[in-house]
Symmetry: C2
Subunit: 335 residues, 2 copies
Amino acid sequence: MEKLVKVAVDAMGGDHAPGEVVKGAVDAVNEKNNLKVFLVGKAPRIHEELSKYQYKNEQIEVVNAEEEISCDESPVEAIRKKKDSSMVVALKMVKDKTADAFVSAGSSGAILVGGQFVVGRIKGIKRAPLGAVMPTAKGPMLLVDAGANMDAKAEYLLQFAQMGSIYMEDVLGIKNPRVGLVNVGVEEAKGNQLVKETGPLLKKCENINYIGSIEAREIPYGAADVVVCDAFAGNIVLKLEEGLAAVLVSQIKEGMMSTLKSKIGALLAKPALKKTLKKFDASEYGGAPLLGLNGLVVKAHGSSSAKEMKNAIIQCIAFAEEDITQKIKDQIVKG
Amino acid sequence: MEKLVKVAVDAMGGDHAPGEVVKGAVDAVNEKNNLKVFLVGKAPRIHEELSKYQYKNEQIEVVNAEEEISCDESPVEAIRKKKDSSMVVALKMVKDKTADAFVSAGSSGAILVGGQFVVGRIKGIKRAPLGAVMPTAKGPMLLVDAGANMDAKAEYLLQFAQMGSIYMEDVLGIKNPRVGLVNVGVEEAKGNQLVKETGPLLKKCENINYIGSIEAREIPYGAADVVVCDAFAGNIVLKLEEGLAAVLVSQIKEGMMSTLKSKIGALLAKPALKKTLKKFDASEYGGAPLLGLNGLVVKAHGSSSAKEMKNAIIQCIAFAEEDITQKIKDQIVKG
């Protein structure tokens, strides 16, 4: 029998909560039989949304939580004080093993803090990085650390590379994923102090497929499957890609709408263009996992639609089925 | 009478040297009367290229140099040992005040090292950053430091912001340029240690228009005119924009060529699209100045065409006319 995977979802987190979150959960359980979703938050609001859809009753359970954590609050204080918030209640379900995974599109800061303090790090894991699955010309890659640990050390980056490799291999199914270290050139002598210390550690690590330094220019081409850097650099990579892609696409649209001739051209080219640009659509890949915790914590984009929430929830199934937490313990902590 | 601006050009540097370099120099002097270019390198090769064009003889002078510095050499050793290289000879002309500025599309490392060691820093300037003029939806911005100083300190970044402001105001003509600090969020408490220390220094600096932290996502939208960060982060911004723009444009082209209908659409939309994408064409803006030296040192892209070389050379005119070096001394070192 297939293992039933249980996901605690913060129904109140995100720009379009609870509407899109609830719809995403319904779509997820309608697609996967071995999935149970706990929708955590204000029960009457959640039931109101749920009443719009058809789904198997035993696959969705509503868990009441009266409080909400907003993006304007101090993450540390919010997690400490709001014990009855949708986020803290859902995170506790992972800690208690009531759920295998947690998904939220709410305050990024609170998710990072809550993951570390409520769920807790695996013993021996020094820092829990945020892994963002991003599109490239060759398919998905994992950027790690995409935003959790500012001022990192080389020994943290080594573990990020190891955990990222396990994730890409077992959750996304990429065999022997290529690990690249973000640098200002491919030569080993280049880079800042952190990179110069990290390179040799990655090189002598036996359970990863380290291909060396990669330049930022090569990232969108898919130069590596696991792209390792500190969170400051990672956040720049993540956010700059988002911003530049949006600006370029809007400029192209504007250009195509500028003359009658180009408008007709746009109409004809649109279906083909849409298909190509879908490859670069990050919403296909679900959320960003916080790696190295005693259970899976996934941060979805704040503006997540139902489709992104669905993908973030479904992504948890492979993580639980492959027992990534145990693999991290076996291969990294003991290894 | 207009001041004559003299530019020493490394004729042997770059992927398309000396052909495109010489052509760029010819195009520059044919466009500007108050410009004299010294083409430094192997004289016979340079004369051979020059013989293809028409130009006023007094505006171009060939200076012989027998050696060349390649991109594979150690920059420090190459600059120290190859005294008769096109790069070192040209840089010395700036040091001796024979020329106001130096332009090269050769080895980036050698340009950075040569600028510091041959031309030398202005007394009181702690580090010389590379300023890259980049396109945004709103027009050009200056990214500083785009790749010169790994492991920077807050006091360096303060001077980068000041020098960048002078450059944008006096060379590119942007009044009261907005200075933004690259960060992982707009809140002051966010960021790595360097950013946390730099923010307050920028805030209390009176001769810049500091608008606070900016997220990488906002950079392509033109959120600031002077975008300040350490060279590791800056190199990521510069290279990732290059890579992602290239990948997206090639994906779009591929999409447009995928069906007959879309091919016809592409044909119709092409002229309008080209015009829009030109806004995002970095070659319009010339090269990247190394700021804070006793003379102007400009790094052009390794793959520079004649057009890029021409723009990089012409950019030197405003720098010399506005006497940026003196302004840096007056406003930053004494200020």
